[in-house]
């Protein structure tokens, strides 16, 4: 009887908990609907703002459709709303490159996005900190650069990753001078993002900083550099890439081989590569190099001693 009563008491407790879960589900559905409406309002607000700014530079006749007064007002105090609004501006930034930079900065300041980012970047928690760095460089808020510079060796992987990418966005090729000082590993994801940021914002390579970066001993930085050499087709650095084939870190040597495959090597370089092959001990690398040389030999007709093909 006691056991039965106990079990029914537990059952009532469980039933109440189940009801509690139903309430949360219901609440989440309602709040999602509400959030959706708010987001539509934020979208409309920025569409009005941005179109009004863009139309300033367009002939008056074309402007008439957009000459409505600002009708929508929003409060961006909520964390989620700020995040959403920032994402809209980032998308605008991506779509129009840097043509409208001043306008984006102005919108960030007017709507409290800049001040929210300033507050977040100084927080101790890694998540708002990393988020603030990300927003800073995506929205090109250069005012946060002094903070970002200090965070490139932060203990949290996401904070330091975002800070390093941020430095690339603001400084371009100059930021490569940090590579010899980096102690932590750089994931392929981060390497790709750094390369893509340079391609997007600084398409002209500045080799002065490249030379400085070559002093690095960090295998991940070396990997990044040789990937950069491929992306920007820096043929002058082929000897450096070839040197890395013998790097003790297998990731670096493998990346060097992959990168070399995209360059057309001459016969002297191929012979050097073959000589390096002889020094290998690891079977899989040896195999890969052999394949590579075979591929290259097929690709480039061998030169005769008198220079004819």
């Amino acid at each position: 009887m006691v056991l039965e009563q106990l079990l029914y008491t537990v059952a009532i407790g469980l039933l109440l908990f189940l009801v509690f879960l139903w309430i949360i589900i219901g609440y989440s559905i309602v709040i999602r609907e509400f959030r959706y409406k708010t987001r539509s309002k934020i979208d409309a607000f920025f569409i009005e703002k941005l179109s009004a700014e863009y139309m300033k530079n367009i002939a008056l006749t074309e402007q008439t459709h957009f000459e409505k007064k600002q009708t929508i007002s929003i409060k961006l105090k909520n964390k989620r709303r700020l995040q959403y609004a920032s994402n809209i501006l980032i998308r605008v930034q991506d779509a129009f490159d840097s043509e409208n930079q001043e306008m984006i900065v102005q919108l960030c300041e007017e709507n409290g996005i800049s001040s929210a980012i300033d507050r977040k970047i100084s927080k101790r928690d890694w998540y708002p900190k990393a988020m603030a760095i990300w927003l800073s460089y995506e929205l090109d808020l250069e005012g946060n650069l002094p903070h970002i510079k200090r965070l490139t060796s932060h203990k949290n992987i996401l904070v330091r990753r975002e800070a390093q990418i941020g430095l690339v966005c603001f400084w371009g090729w100059k930021s490569l001078k940090m590579l010899p000082h980096l102690k932590y590993p750089i994931s392929l994801w981060q390497q790709i993002r750094i390369i893509e940021k340079l391609v997007d914002y600084f398409p002209e390579p500045d080799l002065t900083y490249m030379e400085k970066a070559l002093k690095t001993k960090n295998p991940y930085s070396i990997e990044l550099l040789i990937r950069l050499m491929r992306r920007f087709d820096l043929k002058a650095y082929i000897p450096y890439i070839m040197e890395q084939i013998q790097h003790p870190n297998s990731n670096v040597s493998q990346t060097a081989l992959e990168v070399l495959e995209s360059f057309q090597l001459n016969n002297v370089q191929l012979q050097q590569l073959e000589a390096q092959l002889m020094q290998f001990t690891l079977e899989n690398q040896q195999l890969k190099v052999t394949q590579f040389i075979a591929l290259q030999r097929i690709a480039i007709p061998k030169e005769t001693p008198n220079g004819n093909s």
């Binding site: 039965e4 079990l7 039933l15 908990f17 879960l21 559905i29 392929l188 994801w189 993002r193 893509e196």
Partner: protein, 471 residues
Amino acid sequence: MEIVKNGVDYFFLTYGVLLFVCYFLLILCAIIAIQKNKKRSLFLNENDIKGAIDLPSVSLIAPAYNEGKTIIINVYSLLSIQYPYYELTIVNDGSKDDSLEQLINEFNLEIVPFYESDPNIQHASVRGIYKSKNPKYKYLTIIDKENGGRADALNCGIAYAKTNLVLCTDADCIIEQDALLKMVRPYLEELDKEVIACGGAIGIANDSIIENGTLKELKLPKSFLARVQVVEYIRAFLLGRMAWHHLDGLMLVSGAFGLYPRTRVIEVGGFDKNTVGEDLELCIRLRSHMEQLQKPYDVVYIPETLCWTEAPSTFKVYITQRDRWARGLWETIRKHRKLFFNPKYRSMGMVFFPYWVFFELGAPIVEFLGLICLVILTIFGWINWPVALALFIVVYLIGCIFSTAAILLYTVNFKHYAKGSMVIKLLVAAYLESFISHPVMLYAEIKGYFKKIFKIKSTWGTMTRKGFTTK
């Protein structure tokens, strides 16, 4: 007699309590893991890498056996996936229908000279390799081979692939357009641990609208059985796999959607053709291999639904599927029994594998034994019915809470079943599951085990599908 009766009582009670404690801990881990994943994914914008040239190349390998009804639309769907370095290999596993002819005609295929495949993976002989004459489809390869089963077809595709990663799927799966960009993320982010497998959540798209090979509108299945499986998948993928991933103990990457580094798969010899649970077996073998090499590794799970499939909507097909899954589990556990409480394999041997033995393999057996005991105790009049009823209500409610928690987590974090009506239908299906589909599933699992115990010869089983609603 009293001692035996008490012993039986305490055995079932202890097992039940342990199982519920495990499930409860898994829910907590899943909540932490989902939050962590949500925060991290904000920084991982796929647009950043779309144009990159340093991405690992991926081969998508899809075996096809008698898929003539849907093969063309499915190949178009798979070809439209967004990824810069991507090859599609369809392995025609000796289909008896006109799949190959349809593919030849539609994609203007021509036979190409055989090229060398990796000798470390065995597979049935290849009859021909086809490539398209149309440069638009230059990344499409069709391998026509003798029938050897799904694992054999996947092995064949892997042996001929030249890419860094291989994504194993089925030709009848609908894959989200940005699935590959999301799936390679763990490989790009790896630092101290090598990612040896990555799986994504699989959703059920019965009765949904498919347009040009992509999921246009997700609908809840009309069939109750398929609807129950939606809940089951949410529970398994979102709670189970997410939690195990958080604990570094993920042992299964679904065969319908798994990404692996090609070299590691080749090192272990590819999929095992002698089991029907080839996905679980490969994952355990890869993990054992890394444990033996003493290299740090990770098996990653992505909670977003990236692949859609059709679930059985009739009990006959459902029983066939679950019978096969049960046999696959049995075979795999038996094959890797040396891992059981083997400290050499660290937490995999001491915790994760024993969990699978006790609670994945063991649960249907314990449940079946429980039913037998119930019958015997009823015959002898040893059951205190009021207590039994109260206990049943408690156990049932705990089950309902787990399912509701899974649906809640899904509703909060993902947009697929966001409408109130959909959630109510899912909840109703979840609460009726114990009375309708669960007994059938138990029957299918016990049937599968029975076949293994008494060495009854059995095959993959025919999976008749209705096909998606296409526009």
